[in-house]
Amino acid sequence: MTDPLFKVVDLTIGWDETVVQKEATFEIERGEIFAILGGSGCGKSTLLRYLVGLETPISGSVTIDGVAPDQSVPGRPLFGVMFQSGALLGSFTVGENIALPLQTWTTLPADAIGGIVAAKLRLVGLESAEDRMPSELSGGMCKRAGIARAMALEPDLLFLDEPSAGLDPVSAVELDELILDLNQQLGLTFVVVTHDLDSIFKIGKSCIMLDRESKSIIARGDPRVLRDTSTDPRVHSFFNRVRQEEAS
């Protein structure tokens, strides 16, 4: 059995006196689509910021292939991150946004970079948007462009924050299919923060579920199995869209 790609050990996160999640421990295998679930305000997106090294945890550790991510030190990224809104740089065109990491971290000539940009945009269905500014794109297009930018340096690991939030059902399904394709064809590992149940059941192979009250992980495993077998009312109510009182 191979070592897990991603290891989180006893991670406690928060700021000042506020603890958002405490002593979280989990592992992510290579080639997995791993979902971080939970209701609004439970700290999913906050946890993601610690996983990618944007914040320093109160205690515990995060390692990717044995290396602790730290975004305070500039350097070629170990993975790609797509933020909730896409977070494209507003003063660059979509194409320039995707070319930026390639220009910075590779020695490829301009024509090769142009080719990769065009191919990545085609991959996410935005081939006609290369010369457009981010402000001219819809929310879904920004997310897609954000994925293309996160994939520019061909990382093995991608973090996606709420990829399907705010998208129409057709765009959400297309995005799920893109994630599945990239996972199955290219073997990419995905860590997805979401609370979209349709998306969770379609793409999630394993997951953890966070809870706001206990500030801890209350469930882990295959989301479909958790939906059908969990006896924890909090988990049952989340997966089956019922109020907690009805679930207990």
Binding site: G115, I116, A118, R122, L123, E127, D131, L182, Q184, L186
Partner: protein, 376 residues
């Protein structure tokens, strides 16, 4: 270290060639892969065929596939037929993912604009902006008339805070800047006036120029840089964040709710700041007069009071009211016209300062000429 891939070119017939790829094609070796592919693709010309033979490719990642797909597209555009051949099932799926088995579409290139086109567009854009500012002015007048008819609809809650931010908080910088302007002008003129033994005329020069021109103008420039830019950024952010739309849906017109309090705040505080600027400027001249021209403070102040008429001060105040209105009008108009996220906010904030500076100088010149022609 040897690359994990190998490439060779095989010419099967005069018009048909193949690029044979072997091994593992990965993004980490994209640069040598691209150099080699570029070298080999020149061997085919229009009307010929150059296929990629992929049977010996063990693995390929997205970055390497992106390069191959890009090269195939380029060959097609050059009139060279090119396809990926004999790939195994896994590689074929990646070829499909990157559209390597799809027809190549023609690229539409944007034609760069000529100088005349750019000049024309810029002129139309300036005229359009001017029209928008005038329309905005009309909307302010209508909103103000509405508030006069129904005073309870005015948003007075924002007025004191805006006055404090634009007025009280600006006092130190206004005093320092105008004091230094007075000092600099007095120094410049002292050297000349001393030669004629007319030292006392420094008081005349400083008093009149500060009260009529420089006090109000410098105050308006500072207010433009502080409050004008702040108004534009604030309203611009609200606009891109859909807060203005939210206000509209709740029944608040942005004119009455956001613009009028800002216009009113500046119209109230800028004349007061101008008076302060006049005093600071005269004190700057006084400091130079006493220290370098052997004038007494009493003599300097008496001369200033004798020479500076009430109209000199009030004409500066009239100007400062017009300046205040112009700063608020342009800043709010630019802020509410913002679109396009953070970049849009930055663009509108910059244009607020630039347009307002230009407008202030223009208004100052027009009013000065008007007062002179009218014999005031």
């Amino acid at each position: 270290m040897l690359p994990a891939f190998a490439i060779e070119h095989v010419q099967a017939s005069t018009d048909r060639g193949e690029i044979r790829l072997r091994g593992i094609l990965r993004f980490a070796e994209a640069a040598p892969l691209w150099t080699e592919l570029r070298r080999l693709e020149t061997k085919a010309s229009r009307g010929q065929t150059l296929d990629f033979e992929m049977s010996a490719v063990q693995r390929i990642d997205g970055g390497a596939m992106a390069l191959l797909a890009c090269l195939r597209a380029e060959l097609h555009r050059r009139g060279v037929k090119s396809e990926f051949m004999a790939a195994d099932e896994q590689v074929q799926r990646i070829i499909h993912l990157y559209g390597g088995d799809h027809a190549v579409r023609r690229l539409k290139r944007r034609r760069p604009l000529g100088t005349l086109d750019q000049l024309g567009r810029a002129t139309v854009s300036i005229l359009h902006e001017l029209r928008l500012v005038l329309a905005f002015l009309g909307q302010i007048v209508v909103a103000a008339a509405g508030v006069l008819r129904s005073p309870r609809s005015a948003n007075l809650r924002e007025l004191p805070a805006t006055m404090e931010r634009s007025g009280a908080d600006a006092v130190p910088v206004i005093i320092v800047i105008n004091f230094l302007v007075g000092v600099a002008m007095a120094f410049q003129s002292a050297a000349q006036l001393k030669q004629f033994g007319a030292n006392i005329l420094v008081a005349d020069l400083i008093g009149i120029s500060i009260c009529r021109e420089l006090g109000p103008l410098m105050t308006a420039i500072v207010v433009c840089g502080r409050s004008g830019a702040a108004f534009a950024a604030e309203l611009g952010f609200m606009q891109v964040n859909e807060e203005i739309d939210a206000l509209r849906t709740m029944g608040f017109g942005p004119m009455r709710y956001l613009v009028l309090p800002r216009v009113a705040a500046l119209i109230i505080v800028v004349p007061l700041l101008s008076l302060l600027a006049d005093v600071a400027g005269v004190l700057g001249g006084l400091a130079v007069g006493v220290t370098t021209l052997d004038l007494t403070a009493r003599a300097y102040l008496n001369q200033t009071m004798r020479v500076v008429s009430l109209w000199d001060v009030s004409s500066g105040i009239v100007k400062s009211v017009v300046f205040a209105f112009a700063v608020a009008l342009i800043a709010c108009q630019q802020g509410l016209a913002t679109s396009g996220g953070a970049q849009g906010v930055g663009r509108r904030t910059t244009s607020t300062v630039v347009i307002t500076m230009f407008t202030l100088i223009l208004i100052d010149a027009v009013l000065t000429i008007f007062f002179r022609v009218a014999g005031l």
